[in-house]
C-alpha cells in the first residue's frame, strides 16, 4: 500500500487520450513529468509554487495547477494539456481569438490561459465580463493587462471574430 521512500514504481497515466506506462517516484510532480518525461513542453513552468497559472492542465476536464499535483495521485485520471486541446490542424476558436485579438504577447502565460478559458467556455458558454475576469484570476499575465484576453474569451463566447 505504501509506496516506499523515493522508490520508483510503475504508474499509468492517460495524457491527451493516450495511456502511457511510466516509472516514477512518489515525489514526482505532474509538471515535471509532462515536461521532462513526456516532452510536452507546451505546459510552462513560471513559478513552481502555484502562484502564476502557467502550468495549468486539466485533470478530468478540470483546470488544475500541474506544479502542485503529485503525478502518482492522478494515475487513472484523464490528463489534458495544451497539446491535447489543440486541433490536429489549425486552431480552436478560442486559440484563433487569442491570436486575432492580441491576447498573447510574450506567450509564456498563454497555454495556461487557453486551458483555463477553454474549460470556462465549455462549462459556461456565455459568461459575463466579471465572470471571465474571475475565472482567469488564477493565471498571471504581465504583458497584456488582461484586457485583450478578456476580449478574446468574450468574442469566442459570442461567436464573433
Amino acid at each position: 500500500m505504501g509506496e516506499g521512500m523515493g522508490e520508483s514504481t510503475p504508474v499509468r497515466l492517460r495524457v491527451n487520450g493516450v495511456t502511457t506506462a511510466l516509472v516514477c517516484p512518489p515525489e514526482r510532480i505532474l509538471l515535471d513529468l509532462l515536461r521532462e518525461d513526456l516532452n510536452l513542453t507546451g505546459t510552462k513552468r513560471g513559478c513552481d509554487l502555484g502562484t502564476c497559472g502557467c502550468c495549468t492542465v486539466w485533470v478530468d476536464g478540470k483546470p488544475v495547477l500541474s506544479c502542485l499535483t503529485l503525478a502518482r495521485l492522478v494515475s487513472g485520471r484523464d490528463i489534458t494539456t495544451i497539446e491535447g486541446v489543440t486541433p490536429a490542424s489549425g486552431l480552436s476558436d478560442l486559440q484563433r481569438a487569442f491570436v486575432d485579438h492580441g491576447a498573447t504577447q510574450c506567450g509564456f502565460c498563454t497555454p495556461g490561459f487557453v486551458m483555463t478559458a477553454t474549460a470556462l467556455l465549455r462549462d459556461h458558454p456565455h459568461p459575463t465580463k466579471p465572470e471571465i475576469e474571475r475565472a482567469i484570476a488564477g493565471n498571471l499575465c504581465r504583458c497584456t493587462g488582461y484586457i485583450k484576453i478578456v476580449e478574446a474569451v468574450a468574442a469566442t463566447a459570442e461567436g464573433r471574430p
Binding site: T41, L49, I147
Partner: protein, 777 residues
C-alpha cells in the same frame, strides 16, 4: 516632411490590426522558449547565493561538493575574474563573487550536476568562511565616506556610484522672480519586471572549439560581447541564440552572471549545461526600477508658465552599476519634456547599497521623476486657479524645437493628446465636480524613441542592420538580431517587408536570432526597436523591391521609374493592367545572381550638445502622452479602484494598431502595479517578498477600462512616420492616478506604492489638520 494639407499616405498592412505572426505557435504551446530546449546529455546547474549582505570571503571549500556522486563541476569566482557590466564604463560585476559578496543573493559558487536535486545537495556541502562587513541597506548613509565602501570605485570613499550635476540657464534668478513655487518630495519603492518566464540559459561547448549559448535575453549582442570578454574566447567562436522570450521589460537586458556561469560550466565539463531560475532567483537578480527619493522644486509665472525646475534625486542602486549611470542622468533630463523648461538644475546621485541590483525597467529613468513633477504641476495649477490641462498646454514644447539641454525635438502631437484626453474623458464636467471619493486626474509624459547613444560600440557602426534573402520559393527570409520579447517586433519587421515588397505576410519569414547569421541590432531596450529596426527594414525591403522592379522593367519594357509595387505584383503606374506577378519578377531577377539579397541599416543622426553627459536622453524622436484616470475611493478603508483610463498617446503613425493598444494596456497594468501595490519590500538589506504571491501584480478585476486615443502625426524620420509605443505609455499612468486621488479625497500622495493604508492615513492627516477635501492647500 509632407506639406500640411497633403493627405497622409495609406498602406495595405501598416496601420491595420496585424495579429502576431508567431501567435499560432504561442496559443498552442508550440513556441519554443529556452527551457523547452533539451540538449543530449545536459547537466543542470544551480547557484550558491550569499546569505550575507556584505562580507569578505576568506575561503570557499568545494571539495566535499566536488566529490559527491553526480556532480560534474563546481565553480568559484577566481576562475573567471574579468569584470563585466552592461555599460563599458562601469564594469563592476564578476560572474561569481571574487573577494567579497555585496548583497543577499550574490553568487558564491555554481554547481553542475546530473539533476537539480543533486546540484542542490552539492551547494549545501560547500563551506564558506567569511568576515562580515558593515552593510549599507540605504543610500543616504553611503553619500559620506564609509568604513568599507561596497566597491573600490565609489567616489572618495563613499558608496556613490554616479553623481550628475547639471545647470542650464539661471535657476536661482528664475525662482527669485517667480509668481509661485512648489516643492514636492517623493519616495518610491523599488519595483521589478516580474515577467512570467524565469531566466533560463543553455550553453554547449563543442569539440570544434565553439560555444553555443541559448538564452532568454533581450539583448543578444551585449551577451555575446560579455561572454567573449569574461571567458576570453573571441566573439566569432561564440554563437548566441535567442529562443522565444517570455517577457523582459528590461530585466533581461543586462548580460547576467548566470549566462556566463552556464557557459563556463559547459567549458569545464564539455557537456551541455542548463540553468533555470526559480522565482527567488529571479527576484534577487532584480535589475528592476530603482528605489528613489526625489525632491522637486518648480517655479512658474502668474500665467502658469514654467520658469525653472530644481531637482534632486537620490537613487538606490543596489550592489552593481548595471545601467545606473544612465539612470542617474535620466532622472534629471527626462523630467522636462513634454514641457518647455527654460532654466534647469539637477543633482542626481546613484548610491551603491547592499541590496539586489537595480537597473533598467520599462520607462527606465522617466517614471519616478515624472510622478513628482506631474503632482507638483497639478498643485501649482490648483493654487493659480488654472485648469491642469490649460497649464500643461501653455507649457507644451512646440514641434521642431530644442530644449534647454539641447535635445532635438522633431514631431510632437502632445497638444493633440491633451485635447483628445480632455474631450473624451469629459474632464470639464468632472474635474473638481465629482462627489467626495470620486475623482479624475491628468498625468502626462514623454519618452525616448531609442537612444541616440548605442552603448557598446563606435557610433560609426549602424545600430541596426537587416538582411533579406528571397529565393525561388518566393519566400523572403529576414535576418536581424532585434529581440522580440513579446512586444511584436517580429510582426512589425515582417509587415514592413511585406508592405514595401508588396507581398502577402506569409511570404516573410523572420529567422530566429542567431549571432552566426543575424546581422547586429543592439537589442530591445530604450524603446528603440520600432524606430531603428523599422527604418533598417524599410531600407532593406526597398532595395529588394528595386531589384524586382528592374526585372519587371526588363519583362515589360517600361522604365523602372514608371513601375510600382501592388499586391503580389509589379505594375505600370499609369497602365495598371500591365503587370508582372511577384514570382515572375523574382525569378527573372534571379536569372544571373540566384537568390536575391538585400540589406538595410539605421544609425541615428548626430545630435545633442557638447557638455559632459550631453548625449544622455538624446533620441531620434520622442513619444508623448496625456492620460486621464478616474478613481473611486472608499474613504473609510482607503481601498480604491481605477475605473477608467483615457490614454492619449503620440507614437507618430500607428504601425500596428493591435500591438500599440496591447503595449498601452500592458503599460497601464504595470504602471498601476507600481502605483497601487507592487514593491520590493525590504527589511534592512533583506528582500521580504521574493515570490509572485507576495509581490502584488494587479489582477484582471483591478484593471480599468482603457480607451486608447492614438492621435500622433507622422514623425519625419520614423519608419512610415512611426515612433515608440513600448515604454512611454507606462509613465503617465502613475501621475494620472495620483492626481485623481487628490481630486477624490484632497490628498497628494508622494510615497509609492499608494496602498489602502496610506490612502487612509493621508485622509486622516488631512482631516486632523481641519482642511476640507476640496480647495487650495
Amino acid at each position: 516632411m509632407a506639406a500640411p494639407d497633403a493627405p497622409a499616405p495609406t498602406y495595405r498592412l501598416i496601420g491595420t490590426r496585424i495579429p502576431y505572426i508567431e501567435g499560432p505557435l504561442k496559443v498552442t504551446g508550440r513556441a519554443e522558449y529556452t527551457d523547452d530546449i533539451k540538449r543530449s546529455g545536459q547537466l543542470i546547474a544551480r547557484l550558491l547565493r550569499s546569505p550575507w549582505p556584505h562580507a569578505r570571503l576568506r575561503s570557499i571549500n568545494v571539495e566535499k561538493a566536488r566529490a559527491m556522486p553526480g556532480v560534474a563541476a563546481v565553480l568559484t569566482g577566481e576562475k573567471y575574474p574579468t569584470p563585466f557590466g552592461v555599460l563599458p564604463i562601469t564594469h563592476d560585476e564578476t560572474a561569481i563573487a571574487v573577494g567579497k559578496v555585496r548583497y543577499i543573493g550574490d553568487i558564491l559558487a555554481a554547481v553542475a550536476a546530473s539533476d537539480e536535486a543533486t546540484a542542490d545537495r552539492a551547494l549545501e556541502a560547500i563551506e564558506v568562511d567569511i568576515e562580515p562587513l558593515p552593510d549599507y541597506p540605504e543610500p543616504q548613509g553611503g553619500t559620506i565616506a564609509v568604513a568599507e565602501p561596497i566597491h573600490a570605485r565609489g567616489l572618495n570613499g563613499t558608496n556613490i556610484q554616479k553623481e550628475v550635476v547639471q545647470h542650464f540657464g539661471d535657476v536661482d534668478a528664475a525662482f527669485a522672480k517667480a509668481h509661485a513655487t512648489v516643492r514636492v518630495r517623493g519616495t518610491f519603492a523599488g519595483v521589478t519586471h516580474a515577467f512570467t518566464e524565469p531566466m533560463a540559459t543553455i550553453a554547449e561547448a563543442t569539440p570544434d572549439g565553439r560555444l553555443t549559448v541559448w538564452s532568454a535575453t533581450q539583448v543578444p549582442h551585449y551577451l555575446h560581447r560579455a561572454l567573449s570578454e569574461v571567458l576570453g574566447i573571441p566573439m566569432h567562436r561564440i554563437r548566441v541564440i535567442k529562443p522565444e522570450v517570455g517577457g523582459g521589460f528590461g530585466g533581461k537586458s543586462d548580460p547576467l552572471p548566470h549566462e556566463i556561469i552556464c557557459a563556463a560550466l559547459s567549458l569545464e565539463t564539455g557537456r551541455p549545461v542548463k540553468i533555470l531560475f526559480d522565482r527567488e532567483d529571479v527576484f534577487v537578480t532584480n535589475h528592476g526600477r530603482h528605489p528613489t527619493k526625489n525632491d522637486v522644486r518648480i517655479a512658474v509665472d502668474a500665467d502658469g508658465r514654467i520658469l525653472a525646475y530644481d531637482i534632486e534625486a537620490l537613487i538606490d542602486g543596489g550592489a552593481w552599476s548595471s545601467f545606473g549611470t544612465v539612470t542617474t542622468y535620466y532622472n534629471g533630463v527626462l523630467s522636462m519634456g513634454p514641457y518647455r523648461v527654460p532654466n534647469f538644475r539637477y543633482h542626481g546621485r546613484r548610491v551603491y547599497t547592499t541590496k539586489p541590483p537595480s537597473g533598467a525597467m520599462r520607462a527606465h529613468g522617466g517614471t519616478n521623476i515624472r510622478y513628482s513633477v506631474e503632482l507638483a504641476l497639478d498643485d501649482l495649477a490648483e493654487r493659480l486657479g488654472i485648469d491642469p490641462f490649460d497649464l500643461r498646454e501653455r507649457n507644451a514644447l512646440p514641434p521642431h524645437s530644442t530644449t534647454v539641454n539641447q535635445f532635438r525635438i522633431t514631431s510632437t502631437s502632445f497638444v493633440k493628446c491633451l485635447h483628445a484626453a480632455r474631450e473624451r474623458s469629459g474632464w470639464d464636467q468632472k474635474y473638481r465636480k465629482l462627489p467626495y471619493g470620486k475623482g479624475v486626474g491628468l498625468g502626462c509624459g514623454f519618452y525616448i524613441s531609442g537612444s541616440n547613444s548605442p552603448i557598446h560600440f563606435t557610433p560609426k557602426m549602424p545600430q541596426c542592420t537587416v538582411h533579406l534573402k528571397a529565393d525561388m520559393d518566393g519566400g523572403i527570409a529576414v535576418h536581424c538580431m532585434q529581440a522580440d520579447i513579446g512586444q511584436g517586433s517580429n510582426t512589425l519587421l515582417a509587415a514592413i517587408v511585406a508592405e514595401v515588397v508588396g507581398v502577402d505576410l506569409d511570404r516573410v519569414h523572420i529567422m530566429r536570432v542567431d549571432s552566426d547569421v543575424s546581422p547586429v541590432d543592439i537589442g530591445s531596450y530604450s524603446s528603440r526597436v520600432t524606430f531603428m529596426m523599422g527604418n533598417a527594414a524599410r531600407q532593406a525591403a526597398e532595395s529588394l523591391r528595386d531589384q524586382l522592379i528592374r526585372a519587371a522593367s526588363r519583362l515589360t519594357g517600361y522604365p523602372p521609374a514608371q513601375l510600382e509595387v501592388a499586391h503580389e505584383k509589379i505594375r505600370v503606374r499609369h497602365r495598371p493592367d500591365i503587370a508582372v506577378d511577384y514570382l515572375a519578377a523574382l525569378h527573372a531577377a534571379m536569372e544571373r545572381t540566384g537568390a536575391l539579397l538585400a540589406t538595410g541599416a539605421y544609425n541615428s543622426p548626430p545630435m545633442g550638445g557638447d557638455f559632459k553627459g550631453a548625449r544622455a536622453g538624446t533620441a531620434p524622436a520622442y513619444s508623448f502622452a496625456a492620460y486621464v484616470a478616474q478613481v473611486d475611493v472608499d474613504v473609510e478603508t482607503g481601498v480604491y479602484r481605477v475605473e477608467k483610463v483615457w490614454a492619449a498617446f503620440d507614437c507618430g503613425r500607428v504601425l500596428n494598431r493591435l500591438a500599440v493598444e496591447g503595449q498601452i494596456e500592458g503599460s497601464i497594468h504595470m504602471g498601476l502595479g507600481q502605483m497601487m501595490g507592487e514593491a520590493m519590500s525590504y527589511r534592512g538589506a533583506r528582500l521580504m517578498n521574493p515570490s509572485l504571491l507576495d509581490y502584488k501584480i494587479p489582477m484582471p478585476q483591478q484593471m480599468p477600462e482603457v480607451e486608447c486615443l492614438l492621435v500622433g502625426d507622422d514623425d519625419p524620420e520614423g519608419p512610415f512616420g512611426g515612433k515608440e509605443a513600448g515604454e512611454g505609455p507606462l509613465i503617465a499612468t502613475l501621475p494620472a492616478v495620483g492626481n485623481a486621488l487628490h481630486d477624490a479625497v484632497g490628498v497628494r500622495y508622494h510615497d509609492l506604492p499608494v496602498t489602502p493604508d496610506k490612502v487612509l492615513r493621508g485622509i486622516e492627516v488631512r482631516e486632523q489638520s481641519g482642511r476640507a477635501w476640496k480647495g487650495v492647500g
